[in-house]
Symmetry: C2
Subunit: 225 residues, 2 copies
């Protein structure tokens, strides 16, 4: 996922720069960029504020670094989902799971996009571009599922279904975070989200003797700790 540091230094688990990025992601996800100060980031990493500004001359560049990382991860996902690189075909469930992990890992981008776009208009367009790209991926996957006779979706239902899939798979994390008060994710929460999206497809599933593509059973409400 991340490079190993240009000098191959493995002492403190990556160079200062990487540690800053990692810590910032955690803090941003927790409270949003606007409610995290540079002083706090420096303190979390264990360095001085002046040092932080040596690595990132503006707070904005920190956000951009995180978005670039996300974009790269998302593109990797897209290629894998469309069956580009590796020959190993993954299940639809695995792909969905990967996407969910990604959305959760960078959830501040989805949640606080408006605030970000306010201070950094340069981010709005790339974000929508990525958004459209991912939507395209989901659409391609759905059409493949239709071809493979896994689901049967009437033509007029495809568009609305795609939009709902996008909404639920984008905002499930925010929903759990805000409405349920969950701020730390475990496997159960991820399962919950997967289950929600699965249920969007369920009515269209073509009955089959073998195991289902999506996991639609034995799922419960996540614990609202």
């Amino acid at each position: 996922m991340s490079t190993a540091g240009k000098h191959g230094r493995l002492r403190t688990r990556g160079g200062t720069r990487e540690r800053v990025v990692e810590a910032t992601l955690g803090l941003f996800n927790e409270r949003g960029p606007d409610r995290v100060t540079t002083a706090e980031i420096a303190r979390t990493v264990g360095i001085n504020e002046g040092n932080l500004y040596y690595h990132f001359r503006t707070k904005e560049s920190l956000v951009l670094a995180l978005f670039a990382r996300f974009e790269a991860d998302a593109e990797t996902f897209a290629v894998r989902a469309l069956g580009g690189g590796s020959g190993e075909a993954r299940t639809y469930e695995d792909l969905l799971s990967d996407w969910f992990r990604l959305v959760w890992a960078y959830r501040f981008l989805f949640r606080d996009l408006l605030a970000l776009a306010g201070t950094m208009p340069a981010l709005a367009t790339p974000f929508r571009k990525m958004s459209a790209r991912m939507r395209g991926v989901v659409e391609a996957l759905l059409r493949r599922m239709i071809e493979e006779h896994i689901v049967n979706v009437p033509k007029d239902d495809i568009e609305p279904l795609l939009a709902n899939v996008w909404i639920v798979s984008t905002y499930w994390a925010v929903y759990l975070n805000l409405q349920k008060g969950i701020d730390e994710m475990d496997a159960g929460h991820l399962d919950w989200g997967l289950n929600q999206v699965s249920h969007l497809f369920k009515p269209f599933l073509i009955p089959t003797g073998s195991a289902d593509v999506f996991p639609l059973s034995t799922r419960r409400e996540p614990d609202s700790t």
Copy 2:
């Protein structure tokens, strides 16, 4: 929706206080409380900043005033939806439409709740309480629809369906706002949102000769201006 001012003054369309609340709601919806300064609010209303602080001694009290207004409107909706007050039974579509207008009118509350909870922890619990209340309303409506043989939802699908209904009907506005770049809503956008929620129910509708409960036809993508 709002009172007429304690002196019945109708000169400038409500007293200064009401005009402040109204202007603030507009600005908050547009950019979020963190990106709107008290100076800007005063300027928008056409009064001095000092005067603004006469009516609202803190910025926080402004947010609270708006939330209180929303809570009241939401409760009015809940009572009407559950068939409490007026005897006139409204269609499910009308109720959904009312709720959508409400979510849109106060969309900053849904979108920026995390940032708000950060500065105002007192708001988190009331928000979740309201959230649960509305969820209860939707659940009651769904069970009534099942009783009236309008829909047929398998027992195990009820919970996930309710959650998806809540997610889509809560975040449709945010989705249009952020992903599509729409910041002004017209009837078409509201229709689009209604259509998305309708499609969640569609697979469970019991076929009938008469007109459907939900509008499921001739809807298109909203114009992304």
